[in-house]
């Protein structure tokens, strides 16, 4: 029996496939339920609340909002983080199309740039504006991105600067360099070392997993399925840790 458990758990691919299958199943079920209108109450996350509020501010004042979707390359492991940055861009762009406030974006990775370009192009089309699309590419060097973003912020003086997506140490660079001027600075990333730096410096920041909740907090409700999946997977994870510790303590492990 112990050797069987051990054998199963050490042939990675079976367990990995099982994990994938279970999470995909959960995801599908919860997403269908969420699309059907099922809702869960969420704990507040400062960044997303402030973003929703900023939209009203921007609509009211006509001031611009600036968002950086980070330097994560799409097509690599940073894709999910970049997607969350782009979700935030999408949120602001849709609102910008409705309320006609200007928005500006900088991208630190060429692939993020291409996607942002498309999103903003559509928003600006909807807003009936001609002219250049409000996205700039700086990079792909992270610090060149930081320098370029700093420069754009200096030039445009937006109401707020949002840095959401994949960031390294340049996240700290951008937020501290722009600290000298006013305007709200929000953002965050998932990688702990960079998230910590941004959390230190920004007015409000998301850390780690909170980044992946951007969709659910900004685009209610179809994204709620993801959060429900995450919460249930979390329960499964905790349960399996406890089970594993018990098994290990009883000596049935390795």
């Amino acid at each position: 029996m112990p050797s069987l458990i051990h054998a199963i758990f050490f042939t990675v691919d079976v367990v990995a496939l099982l994990t994938l299958f279970v999470s995909a199943l959960m995801f599908i079920v919860f997403t269908i339920r969420a699309k059907g209108g099922a809702s869960i109450p969420l704990r507040p996350i400062g960044v997303y609340e402030q973003m929703r509020r900023l939209v009203s501010h921007a609509a009211e004042s006509g001031q611009s909002l600036h968002i950086s979707a980070g330097s994560g390359c799409i097509g690599a492991e940073a894709t999910p983080q970049a997607v969350m940055g782009l979700t935030a861009v999408d949120y602001l762009a849709r609102r910008s199309a409705e309320y006609a406030y200007p928005m500006m974006s900088t991208a630190g990775s060429p692939t993020v740039f291409a996607t942002t370009h498309g999103i903003l192009q559509q928003a600006e089309g909807a807003r009936g504006e001609a002219g250049g699309v409000g996205v700039r590419f700086y990079g792909p060097d992270p610090f060149a991105y930081a320098a370029g973003t700093y420069d754009t912020l200096q030039e445009k003086q937006p109401l707020a600067h949002i840095a959401l997506g994949q960031f390294g140490a340049e996240g700290l660079w951008i937020s501290e360099a722009t600290n000298m001027r006013d305007g709200l600075r929000l953002g965050g990333t998932s990688d702990p070392s960079s998230a910590m730096l941004m959390w230190l410096s920004l007015d409000e920041a998301v850390i780690g997993e909170e980044l992946y909740a951007a969709g659910a907090y900004l685009h209610h409700p179809s994204h709620l399925g993801s959060l429900a999946t995450q919460d249930y997977l979390r329960a499964v994870l905790i349960f399996s840790i406890i089970l594993g510790v018990v098994v290990a303590s009883l000596g049935y492990w390795g």
């Binding site: 990675v12 969420l42 704990r43 507040p44 400062g46 609340e49 402030q50 929703r52 509020r53 939209v55 009203s56 501010h57 609509a59 009211e60 004042s61 006509g62 001031q63 611009s64 390359c73 097509g75 690599a76 492991e77 940073a78 409705e98 309320y99 200007p102 060097d141 992270p142 610090f143 445009k156 003086q157 109401l159 390294g168 140490a169 600290n179 000298m180 006013d182 305007g183 709200l184 990688d191 702990p192 070392s193 007015d203 409000e204 209610h220």
Partner: protein, 510 residues
Amino acid sequence: MIVCPACQHRNPEGAEVCEACGASLEGFAYRVCPKCGALNPAENLFCHRCLERLAGATSAKGEQPPATEEAEKVLAEVEEEEGTLPPFLVEQVEEAEGAPPVAEEPAPSEEEFPEALPPFIEVEEEEEEPVSEVEGPGGGETLEAVQAEAPAVPSEEREEKEEELPQVVVNPLAGVEDVLPLEAGISLPHRAEPLPTEGPTEKERADADLLRRIAEEGPPLQEAPRKAEEKGVRRLSGSGRALIYLLVLLAAVIPFFTGGQTARWVSPRRSVGVFADVMSRLPVHTPVLVSFDYSPAYGEELDPLARAVVQQLAARSVPMVVMSTKPEGIGIAEKVCTAVAQEMDNYRYGEHYAVLGYLPGEEAGLRTLRKGLADAFREDYVRHRPLSEIPVVSGIASVTDLEHIIVLSDESGIVRRWIEQVRRENTVLLHALVSARIEPTLIPYAQAGQLETLIGGAYGAAEYERATGMRGAAAQTVDADAVLFLVMLLIAVVTNVVLISGDKGRSPRR
């Protein structure tokens, strides 16, 4: 500052045309508060947020609170009554309804608003219109949303406020203004009053629609601390910042004067000792893969460590294959290897070591590496020859043929990538020599055995030099770290002393 209505450029006070786009600033829409940065309608005398007097806003009204302030206040009062208007307002409403239609004259634009207003009563007359609109069909949600967020004021307190109305400075909508852009609704006069003769204009319809949509924007999940207040708590003044910068600079300059006094205490940690031991026992015929996955950004931190490791390998003539998954890394790799090879005569390119080049494609790149070295790099970086012609590489089909991989990195993502894409087969031992910044992030991997070694660059180099008995430059600058600690300690003390003496009772950050 004056915000250009066309391009949102912030122009200095008194500008007549926009500096950025040249548009006329006559009738500009917004003025920026010099104190808190909040944006105010051009007619405001005082900032709606911090009540600072706005530069350039001169009017016969003198020191009285601006019209919109009172307007907001009255609106709040009205809302507290759950839609039933206070008696004095009801009179005003009746007056207004009985009065000749206001719409015969064009609706006053925002710019004319304050000047056109006689004192107090007029304000109320302006006010009840948004309210009535709010009560009307389609606007009901606005009111509900506001009510949900409005602070509940006991009725006695409200009566007191009504009495001292003109002097009140505190904005009763303090917690609300950030939720809903009430100013927008308030300062659009006469918008919703149904005209007896003609319907609302296109613009008015658009404005009403805008207000409705803004109102429909879901209320935030929980009232967070206000932005302006938070700034005051958290932002550092210019001089304080300069002082901190100066201290850090001083700390960094110290070693040039002390010359490494504390270096004699450097002793390698266990992990460094073990790694140095592994390196000194490597068989001289199996190549080691060294990946220089850091950019010049962290060169000052990781170069000494890289040089120490390459030196040790070269001294024992251990074959070495060098690559990089960061575009800038390969330049560094070549520089370090060439420098070391020049010192050691019997360590030759091609025979003992080879620089394969930059492997593009992050994850994807590493996967090709697992599938075959020759697929990933078609030729080497230095001589541009096919890999099969280079003796040191010819025996390696893919990374799984190797025993040790040393990754020098400044990004935890890169190390994670190596773990996820290459280390999976459990045959290769992965040694991560990383920037101290990301060392803690990777500890779980080291604890789980996915990383054989984990060494932080900033202090690792000095310890590694000590462990291998080499003489290097890394130990010479360790004095500065002690001063850095003192600076951080000082910062901690000062910030808390300032907190105790000055900022009592401010809300916590999160």
